[in-house]
């Protein structure tokens, strides 16, 4: 860890908040994508059953 001096709280909180937001965006995007893939597979199977 580098010596951040008297601004350590500001620098660490800026990095923490930004990385948390990016992780949330990534996580939510991946979860939504996986759900859509699963739902599409199900819908296509149902459509095939209907002919």
């Amino acid at each position: 860890m580098p010596d951040l001096g008297k601004y350590a709280v500001e620098v660490v909180s800026a990095y923490g908040a930004s990385l948390l937001l990016l992780a949330l965006l990534l996580g939510l995007s991946l979860r939504r994508g996986q759900r859509a893939r699963a739902e599409l597979a199900k819908a296509e199977a149902e459509a095939a059953d209907h002919g």
Binding site: P2, D3, L4, G5, K6, Y7, A8, E10, V11, S13, A14, Y15, A17, S18, L21, L22, L24, L25, L26, S29, L30, R32, G33, A36, R37, E39, L40, A43, E44, E46, A47, H50
Partner: protein, 244 residues
């Protein structure tokens, strides 16, 4: 082959799936390199102290916040003129990414501003135009969710995107338009090339900017794929309901 062939969702998805692994890998490498370099291996600035390290997040996020809106503007125009569904869905997919980039720029700017300017917030032209851009992102996403018919939603959100572009331009050039306020001018002017940032800070910053750009592209491609699949699900369900 014409670029318009990728307006076909199947072709777009096939290309997107091929390109994404490279984009994700390059984004990860650039972001890890730039952020680790910037955080651990750059010196403090003689005036800003260690808060200069916030630049590696703030500048790339602000850059992408504005560029995301311009990407949405282009895809919205394509939708309005050529009625390609993929372009409307790409704009929809990009909005949450742009929103997060704007939020990161606002938060890191406030955290930096407190010790440097002595205030978290100032109604400065650039800060205010960025806050308005953030509200436009929220409004754009809310409008997509509020309208049931996807084509009507795409039409209305495209018009909102055109209006919001004024604020995206203002966010970019606010410092030049109004020569007042606390926010400094751009440190890396693309047109003149007369940057005021020393190489020791500029090289990791450039890597971070490329990394944020690649991450944006990877996320938008992935999320557009999701939107295309959700649209296909709606179409299949509607077809089944009609045949029942």
């Amino acid at each position: 082959m014409s670029i318009w062939s990728y307006a076909n969702p199947v072709k777009f998805l096939a290309l997107s799936i091929r390109v994404q692994p490279f984009l994700w890998t390059a984004a990860l490498i650039c972001l890890a390199t730039g952020l680790i370099w910037g955080f651990f291996a750059t010196p403090d600035d003689f005036r800003q102290g260690s808060t200069v390290k916030i630049i590696y997040l703030h500048v790339p996020a602000a850059l992408m916040a504005i560029n995301a809106w311009f990407m949405m503007l282009i895809t919205s125009l394509i939708w309005l003129v050529r009625r390609h569904h993929v372009s409307a869905l790409a704009a929809k997919a990009a909005a949450p990414v742009g929103l997060v980039m704007t939020l990161i720029a606002l938060i890191t700017g406030a955290i930096w501003g407190q010790p440097m300017w002595g205030t978290w917030w100032e109604w400065d032209p650039r800060l205010t135009s960025f806050l308005i851009l953030f509200l436009f992102y929220l409004g754009y996403m809310a409008l997509w969710e509020a309208i049931e018919d996807p084509d009507t939603a795409a039409d209305l959100t495209s018009v909102l995107c055109l209006v919001g572009s004024v604020f995206a331009v203002l966010s970019r050039y606010a410092v030049q338009f109004w020569n007042q306020g606390l926010h400094q001018g751009t440190s890396i002017p693309v047109t003149t090339g007369a940057r005021t940032v020393s190489d020791v800070f500029f090289v990791p910053l450039l890597i971070c900017m490329i990394g944020f750009g690649l991450l944006f592209a990877a996320l938008v491609l992935y999320r557009t794929g999701t939107e295309i699949r959700l649209r296909r699900i709606r179409a299949l369900r509607a077809r089944m309901e009609r045949t029942l």
